[in-house]
Amino acid sequence: MDQFLSITLQLLEGFKENCILFGVTLLAALPLGLIISFGSMSSFKPLKIVCRTFVWIIRGTPLMLQLFVVYYIPPLLTDGSFKFSDRLTAALIAFIINYAAYFSEIYRGGIEAIPKGQYEAGYVLGMKKSQIFFKVVLLQVIKRIVAPMSNEIITLVKDTSLARVIAVGEILKNAERFTKEGLIWPIFYTGAFFLIFCGALTLLFRFIEKKLDYYKG
């Protein structure tokens, strides 16, 4: 029992890294994704091309490779002069960029699904474009994208364990240590941490969907 407690605590220490990765990535990638989605929908051609190419590159390469690129390429190019003092920071940058690209496409889908008539109605009423977006369109977009977003966010929870490829001490890496010391169960036990976390998120999203269910749109 003592051993179970001490291993749980050590695994929790690793899971803290997963939680930081999850929280910070979400906070930064949600707004960044919206900005990129504006870029991909822009009528200014060069900007549109840049943003869509960016999304293509990020979605078209494995996150694992992106982690390698962010962490190892700068020091390799500068002979070690520039390197991240902290592996977690490098992992965060890779995760934020990756998830912002995915989120931007979800936003784009949501925004483009709003009928043109609503913008036109806004103009007729004399609203500014920004007013139309924030007061009329955005709320409907949020309602529409809750389901695809929750899907992506739950994927993020589990993707955080990928940070181990650049040796971030996340929970799976922590658990593997025990395997090498002759204890097998901790590596499977880590599943419980992810299940509990994702379970809580699922309940939260169900609550949000219910809250937003007061109108049909």
Partner: protein
């Protein structure tokens, strides 16, 4: 009029979006450039030993495995390699910093200067010698068979091993043995992800024999571990090999300095003392100078 307003608004939105997008896209790059400029004095021509001395510390790339580097009951890093590396670094006048790495990326870690050496039971091979500077061999290792205790007798002969299923880590010395040694000519081989997975296969009964490092078996097959029902087939040993410390290629003075420090630690009797503590005395290669 409406059209003009719409155009203006669209322009404004595009501009804000552009500013935001451009800014975020360049963030990492400009940060990289700033830092490069700031430490530009750290020139590329500087040799490895000067680099380490200026830094005052040696970052040692490790993975956790008993008895080399592992966390003791008090949660502190300990093990044969840990104590050995600390003794050598003290001799060199450097602080030892241990950094857990992903073993598959060890060369990348080393050349990107994320770590300064790999000191974790690294087997000396010609391939590694060509890509990295490697110190004098300090310890011997061999490949052994691990199976369920009741099968030890059966698997100590080539006839017994015929048709048995054998696993080893992909790309490891164990794999070379299991695939190439005549002893295993009639056995079924499968490669797995790690030595730990190989043991798990035997424990779970999905394989009969795991070919792993002898040093690894010391740490994992002890009493009270989940693998206590497994045992080493002591009568057979394969592919003796030697452990060395890997430094960056063309590390200049560092290699000489580290080799000298290893000998000094051996001469003082400290190395033998550490080896005895972890039951590795028989495997030690660096002897005190007569």
């Amino acid at each position: 009029m409406k059209k003009i307003i719409a155009l203006l608004m669209a322009g404004l939105m595009t501009a804000t979006a552009f500013a935001g997008c451009g800014g975020s896209g360049n963030k990492t790059e400009s940060k990289a450039e700033d830092t490069t400029a700031a430490v530009a004095t750290n020139s590329a021509s500087e040799d490895d030993w000067t680099y380490l001395q200026n830094k005052g510390s040696m970052t040692i790339g490790i993975t956790y495995f008993e008895p080399m580097n592992y966390k003791g009951a008090d949660g502190k890093l300990t093990g044969f390699e840990t104590e050995f590396a600390e003794a050598v670094c003290a001799q060199l006048g450097l602080t030892a910093n241990f950094q857990e790495i992903e073993w598959d990326s060890k060369e990348l870690e080393l050349s990107s200067k994320a770590i300064d050496c790999i000191w974790n039971g690294l087997t000396i091979t010609d391939e590694r010698k060509a890509n990295m500077d490697i110190t004098v061999p300090y310890m011997e290792n061999k490949q052994v068979m691990v199976c369920k205790k009741e099968n030890v007798e059966k698997f100590s002969t080539a006839e017994g091993v015929a048709n048995a299923s054998v696993v080893a880590e992909a790309g490891s010395a164990g794999e070379d043995v299991a695939k190439g040694d005549a002893f295993f000519a009639n056995a079924q081989f499968e490669s797995v992800e790690s030595q730990a997975t190989a043991l798990l296969e035997v424990k779970a009964g999905t394989a009969d024999i795991a070919v792993i490092d002898y040093v690894m078996s010391i740490g994992t097959l002890r009493d009270g571990s989940d693998y206590a029902d497994l045992a080493v087939v002591e009568s057979q040993a394969f592919a003796p090999e030697q452990y060395g410390i890997a430094l960056r290629k063309n590390s200049g003075d560092t290699l000489t300095k580290v080799n000298e420090a290893i000998q000094a630690v051996a001469d003082s009797g400290k190395l033998a003392e550490i080896a005895e503590k972890y039951n590795l005395t028989d495997l030690l290669l660096v002897k005190p100078a007569a």
